[in-house]
């Protein structure tokens, strides 16, 4: 046994050792930390420079990262001034249909526009095959899906009209009001397959209140920047020029920076414009739309809108369905809201046509029809590829999904390469997973 004096000596020596080591550790840290930072940034640049050239990178942390098992790590890139310029994802992606097919990717996504800045693969052979994908996707906005080969799209995206539009006047309105009790609507006229007239406005649930454009001009409705009516005009004019809502370059916060004088959120306009375009493709005119919404109101409330006095002078149903969310909300199997139905979808449901989007179920294997031959080219087939089906009324784009994302959110479509389908599919999955992460991490509104 140790004597008391021996214990004292031992304790003194141990304490001295601890103090000495603490001094060494702290001074060592101060001595080497600059070098460690430089080394770390050098390593990051070496790893991520090809997908997102940035001056410095910092890793992102947070609980949401654990909700995405395919993502190994995420970094935010900064320029020389310390302004964020994008995100880099390091991920191991596997095919939904074949868990054994995996690939390690590094992908870059632009900070402002969520456009693809680069992609690389750990496997050098696959990386060479991905060059086609990279050249196709670079500069495109996420999320991404494959386009079917028999649909035609102009490669030069300068103001080419959206394909498949039927001439006529089309209309879409929100089924719920905003905080000022305004219900947004978009009216669109198509002639010769092009958008020739667009009007974005909102009527009020209180019929004595003037429409939003008039209210903004009279000073009753104020937003930052230009009057709302002017901004609405500018965005409508831009759509006439660009011909496609996706080209408005809406950012994650719902705004756009490519149209002068537009500072308000254009999320609602983009959504309603897309709905009008889908209606046009399906030949679902304004008259059909208004009679459908009248029917939805009648079936939901048990009385007609005219009896309840909710039809305004312009003939629109000035009513908010927010107290009956089951009418317009798409729920997944867990009961969580997954998105919103359009009026056309709700009507189809009332007609007894169970659209796939309304009841999310596993996509059946492609049937042996001439039309499915193209889908059989690839090992996966079916909706998980994100193949866009035809534009018939019952074959809505929304009826499919890719990587658990509704097709209505998909912004970019590409042709699947015939020689490296698997790599391309995995790459698309990587970008869509990155999109889902950013959506959750940054609380993006869709």
């Amino acid at each position: 046994m140790m004597t008391r004096s021996q214990i004292k000596v031992f304790v003194t020596e141990a304490l001295l050792l601890a103090v000495l080591s603490a001094i060494l550790i702290v001074s060592g840290f101060l001595w080497s930390n600059d070098r460690a930072d430089r080394r770390l940034q050098r390593e990051y640049k070496q790893k991520f420079g090809s997908v997102l050239p940035a001056e410095s990178y910092t890793p992102l942390t947070g609980k949401v990262l654990y909700d995405f098992p395919e993502i190994n790590s995420v970094y935010r890139g900064y320029d020389k001034d310390g302004t964020p310029i994008g995100y880099v994802f390091d991920m191991t992606v596997q095919l939904p249909s074949d868990k054994n097919t995996k690939m390690d990717f590094r992908i870059g996504i632009d900070y402002e526009t969520s456009r693809v800045t680069g992609i690389m693969c750990e496997d050098p052979k696959a990386d060479r095959r991905l060059k086609y994908i990279e050249s196709t996707l670079k500069g495109k906005q996420i999320p991404i899906a494959f386009r079917r080969a028999d649909t035609t799209v102009s490669d030069d995206e300068t103001y080419a009209p959206v394909e498949g539009l039927n001439d006529g006047i089309y209309y879409a309105q929100r089924l719920i009001d905003d905080r000022s009790k305004f219900v947004d609507y978009v009216e669109m006229e198509i002639r010769g397959g092009r958008i020739t007239r667009v009007n974005w406005d909102a009527f009020n649930l209180d019929m004595t209140t003037e429409d939003r454009s008039y209210a903004s001009l009279s000073g009753a409705y104020e937003i930052s920047g230009l009057d709302w009516a002017v901004q609405s005009y500018n965005i409508c004019h831009a759509l006439l020029k660009l011909q496609d809502p996706d080209r408005l370059a809406m950012k994650s916060d719902g705004t756009t920076s490519i149209i002068d004088g537009v500072t308000c959120s254009i999320q609602c306009f983009v959504d309603l414009s897309k709905e009008c375009i889908n209606n046009s493709r399906a030949g679902y005119t304004k008259d059909k739309y208004l009679s459908a919404i009248t029917r939805i109101y009648t079936e939901t409330m048990g009385t007609s809108p005219d009896a309840d006095g909710v039809r305004n002078k312009a003939g629109y149903i000035a009513f908010s369905f927010e107290k009956t969310p089951e009418v317009y909300t798409i729920y997944d199997e867990t009961g969580a809201a997954r998105g919103y139905k359009t009026v056309r979808e709700i009507e189809a449901e009332l007609n007894g046509k169970k659209l796939k989007s309304l009841t999310p179920t596993p996509t059946p294997p492609p049937e042996d029809t001439p039309d499915s031959k193209n889908e059989k080219r690839n090992p996966e087939g079916g909706a998980e590829d994100g193949y866009v089906k035809g534009s018939g009324e019952d074959e809505l784009t929304l009826s499919e999904s890719i990587d658990d994302l509704p097709m209505s959110e998909v912004v970019t479509y590409i042709y699947p390469p015939s020689d490296s389908y698997t790599e391309a599919r995995l790459a698309i999955r990587a970008f869509n997973t990155g999109y889902k992460f950013l959506k959750a991490y940054l609380n993006w509104r869709v």
Partner: protein, 329 residues
């Protein structure tokens, strides 16, 4: 002897260097490494260290009671706490508590209790526990995070573990980073300065056998070029030698595992031979296995052969003696 008679240590052992003293010295020697881990990796490292020490001790006590073995105060010798601390120091900082618990239970029950408790274990419990987890839960031991103040208060990894990662390439690190441990490494084994400080303390207190560690480090130095050829296909040279010696954890293994009084040979020649074998195995396995597996598997190998080596060396040293008396040299 009546059943009520008190069991005590044999009265003829009169030394200040009893088991509690040796383990207390070992713990004190590992304190610099623990301080390093706490400073660089923050709360999660502190929690992991305390968790391993407490669970290792509890596991030992509970298993002893279940087995109906053990006398009162058996685990006040601090061997359990020392093993728990050593195990925590060789874990990556972003290890989950589940992975740490698996390592603790394997080290405590399988390598220590099943063989008879403290002082009877054939292999180092910390090395065995660490190796066990790296073999059965390999993805849980990839949390080699950068140190620093940014993640000091992060505790999430204790539950979720690491998102996966990779072993760091230490050859990119500058000498100041390597000598101070300012790179992604194990909680306490990355800072060679702290380990050597602890080793110095052990030598000063006489609680270490130095011949196996010295043989290990010398052999590593001599045969390092062989590793370069095997692992990287590079030429016969010392490229990356400093980074390997300072960053791979071999100094920690040398000081705290190969200097162990229980699991390493007690004779000079046997210990020296064991150190050499351990070093050669480490260099060869590096080319084929994960770095952490290549680091700890050789320790267990020489632990297993240590009693055979001791016996062999003793027999060799007595081969010219006719007497069957105990060799007291």
């Amino acid at each position: 002897m009546s059943r009520k008679e008190k069991k005590t240590l044999a009265p003829f052992i009169h030394t200040e260097k009893n088991a509690p003293y040796i383990y207390l010295t070992l713990i004190a020697a590992m304190v610099p490494c623990a301080i390093y881990g706490a400073f660089y990796y923050g709360l999660r490292a502190i929690v992991l260290i305390l968790f391993c020490m407490v669970t290792f001790t509890l596991s030992d006590i509970i298993f002893t009671k279940i087995a109906g073995r053990g006398g009162r105060g058996e685990y006040f010798d601090l061997s359990s706490a020392a093993s728990g601390l050593m195990l925590a120091l060789v874990l990556p900082p972003d290890t989950s508590l589940i992975a740490a618990l698996a390592a603790v239970l394997f080290g405590s029950i399988v390598t220590k209790q099943i063989f008879g408790g403290p002082g009877s274990n054939l292999v180092n419990p910390a090395a065995a526990g660490r190796l066990f987890v790296s073999l059965v839960m390999p993805s849980s031991l990839l949390g080699y995070a950068e140190g620093g103040t940014e993640g000091w208060f992060m505790l999430r990894t204790l539950i979720f573990g690491s998102k996966g990662g990779e072993f760091h390439d230490y050859t990119n690190c500058s000498f100041p980073e390597l000598i101070t441990g300012n790179f992604p490494g194990m909680i306490g084994a990355a800072c060679a300065t702290c380990v050597l400080l602890g080793g110095f303390f052990l030598v000063m207190r006489g609680s270490i056998r130095t011949y196996a560690p010295i043989a290990y480090l010398v052999t590593l130095t001599v045969f390092f070029p062989l590793s370069n050829v095997l692992e990287r296909g590079k030429g016969f040279g010392y490229e990356g030698y400093v980074a390997f010696m300072l960053a791979s954890g071999v100094v920690f293994v040398a000081v705290f595992m190969l200097g162990d009084l229980t699991t390493m040979p007690s004779r000079f020649s046997a210990g020296f031979f064991a150190g050499m074998v351990c070093a050669i195995l480490t260099l060869v396995l590096r080319a084929f296995l994960r770095p952490d597996t290549a680091l700890f598997a050789p320790v267990l190998s020489v632990n297993f052969m240590s009693f055979v080596l001791d016996f062999l060396m003793k027999t060799l040293s007595r081969r010219n003696l006719r007497s069957r008396e105990v060799d007291v040299r």
